[in-house]
């Protein structure tokens, strides 16, 4: 199918700012789904509230645009009630890890098969540029005019520690990686997390004097490297990209099927 077949053209133009990285994530996501060759009917996209969450409106899947932070909780209900569906949950950094942090760690802990896509632009864009739990120490935001004293989360470490069985990171500069990692994440039988660093030139870039979208993309190119690369060994400051965790552990819905078997056997005596 052509890429356009996965879009709801009726709902364009999209609402993202010029130069926003989220469109690139949408691009990578659609190419991933296209390569996977899945029917659009078996894909559910659940999102919360924020710039990133609007992504669900633009794709021609079953889409659920929910409440701020709660996308994974809604998604859990969908997945457990109909495990044959592929559930993809795009979230922003504030959505996933501030207001939705509890749902994030518990979905990871359960290892329920769905893909959490953290579109990390290090800022609350929709509300106008407040600092998020991923902004990091020393950044500037409308609510941190004297520079931010909040430390940031490391999404990869957090997801791994919470029990996610597939954890990866890339940036929108590396658009083929975005597509490839989403593909692998969707195929993974367990809770998968893909963090995609995305630029918000409007708020994060401007407040932190990082230049326009081009300069921000250049930064993703220069400041990141593949896991285990020579560059990583030479410069530990670089942000690593790639798959950090990929392991087999009992998946929640499969385990629940066993509960049903046990319960039914007990009734029969």
């Amino acid at each position: 199918m052509a890429v356009k077949d996965y879009l709801r053209e009726r709902f364009f133009p999209h609402m993202w700012c010029p130069g926003c990285g989220h469109g690139t994530v949408l691009n990578g996501l659609i190419r991933a789904v296209e390569k996977l060759g899945m029917s659009k009917n078996e894909i559910v996209m659940v999102s919360g509230i924020g710039c990133s969450s609007r992504i669900s409106g633009y794709v021609d899947f079953h889409t659920l645009h929910t409440l701020h932070g709660r996308a994974l909780a809604f998604a859990t209900g969908i997945k457990l009630s109909k495990p044959e569906l592929n559930v993809i949950v795009p979230m922003g950094d504030g959505d996933a890890l501030a207001i939705g942090g509890n749902h994030f760690i518990h979905a990871a802990r359960r290892n329920i098969a769905m893909t959490a896509l953290v579109m990390n632009n290090r800022i609350y864009g929709m509300t106008g540029g407040q600092y998020s739990p991923l902004s990091g120490y020393g950044t500037v935001a409308t609510t941190a005019p004297f520079s931010n004293i909040d430390q940031g989360f490391d999404v990869v470490k957090l997801a791994s520690a919470a029990g996610a069985t597939f954890v990866a990171r890339t940036t929108v500069y590396h658009v083929h990686e975005v597509s490839d990692l989403i593909q692998q994440a969707v195929l993974h039988d367990g809770f998968s997390v893909v963090e995609v660093l995305s630029q918000c030139p409007t708020y994060f870039g401007r407040h932190n004097r990082l230049g326009g979208p081009v300069e921000m993309l250049q930064w993703f190119k220069d400041q990141t490297t593949r896991i285990g690369s020579k560059a990583a060994a030479e410069n530990p400051e670089l942000i690593q990209r790639g798959i950090f965790v990929q392991e087999d552990r009992p998946e929640y819905c499969t385990e629940y099927d066993k509960v049903i078997d046990k319960a039914m056997a007990a009734v029969k005596g």
Binding site: R8, R10, F11, K40, N41, E42, V44, V46, S56, G57, D60, F61, H62, T63, L64, H65, T66, L67, R70, A73, F74, A75, T76, G77, I78, K79, L80, S81, K82, E84, L85, N102, H103, H106, Y256, V259, I260, K262, A263, M264, A266, V267
Partner: protein, 368 residues
Amino acid sequence: MEGALYAGLEFFAGYPITPSTEIAEHLSRRLPERGGKFIQMEDEIASMCAIIGASLTGHKVLTATSGPGFSLKQEALGYAIMAEIPCVIVNVQRGGPSTGIPTHIAQGDVNQARWGTHGDHAIIALTASNHQDVFAMTVEAFNMAETFRTPVILLFDEVVGHMRERLLLPEPGQIPLVDRLKTSVREGVDYHPYLPREDGRLPMADFGGVHRYNVTGLYHDMWGFPSDNPKVVHGLIRHLVDKIENHVEQITRYKSFYLDDARTVLVSYGAAARTALHVVEGQRKRGQKYGLLELQTLWPFPAEVVADTCAGAERVVVVEMNMGQVCREVQRVVNDPGKVFLANRIDGVLVTPTDIRQTLRLIAGQGV
């Protein structure tokens, strides 16, 4: 909670909270026995969200909680109203506000059930005073949730929740069940998920089926896509309110006791109605013309039934376990608000026959 299973419950998500934990414990065993799903979520909010998700895949869903948890669920409850997702929420009330008095009776969440989530909306809330009626109202709740595509709140109380008494389980098929109205639009033909039929009903398509559409908590058009067009916004809020407020008669459930010639009408609901009936029967034995109107539908408020019942009464006494939440509604709808009095108790103890009789003596000017 056998009523929920009878109604076809397939999915429950909850979080432990006194005094509704027994429901979760029971269903964690009973649901998988019949191939249903039970999940204990990480918090109250998540449980409410999870049942909305499961409803969208075509299942009958339930969550259960008490005051503090009910407060937490309000945002997602509003989502279910806005997105028109059928679901049932049990609130076994306890004393509030805040953590309040977890193991004692109160009926203080009546107005929260009505207005708890933000914004204009309509809601259905039912209650019951004994186990047989709890069963029946639970089945009704599932039926109404499907009929009107809306969340339905079951507002029970701690006494009815923890009490034990006889329950006769109806045979399958004895109480009619409403199944989900699914769209008849075929694959490849445009399906408008939010375009109501002539009769106001909105056929659904399951997530995972052949119709892919958008569901959102934003004001939305017939495609389910966000819209701030004033016409769309106005049309949707009217639809959400009218589909319930225009069917008050269809939604109203109540019980009448000795009302035909009653000069003093007691209006009550939930466990308090048991005490009220006790008093009414005692007065009847003494030849006094007392009657009881037991409300089972609290919202939408059955204004017509209450007004008609109270029209000929000399005095109306509302018996409830709060500071007059239903009493104010009764005063609002009767011809003479001055004849409406409140007999309540707000200390975590079930209102006693003596409490009611004391109020009656005060009204009659006989002192305490």
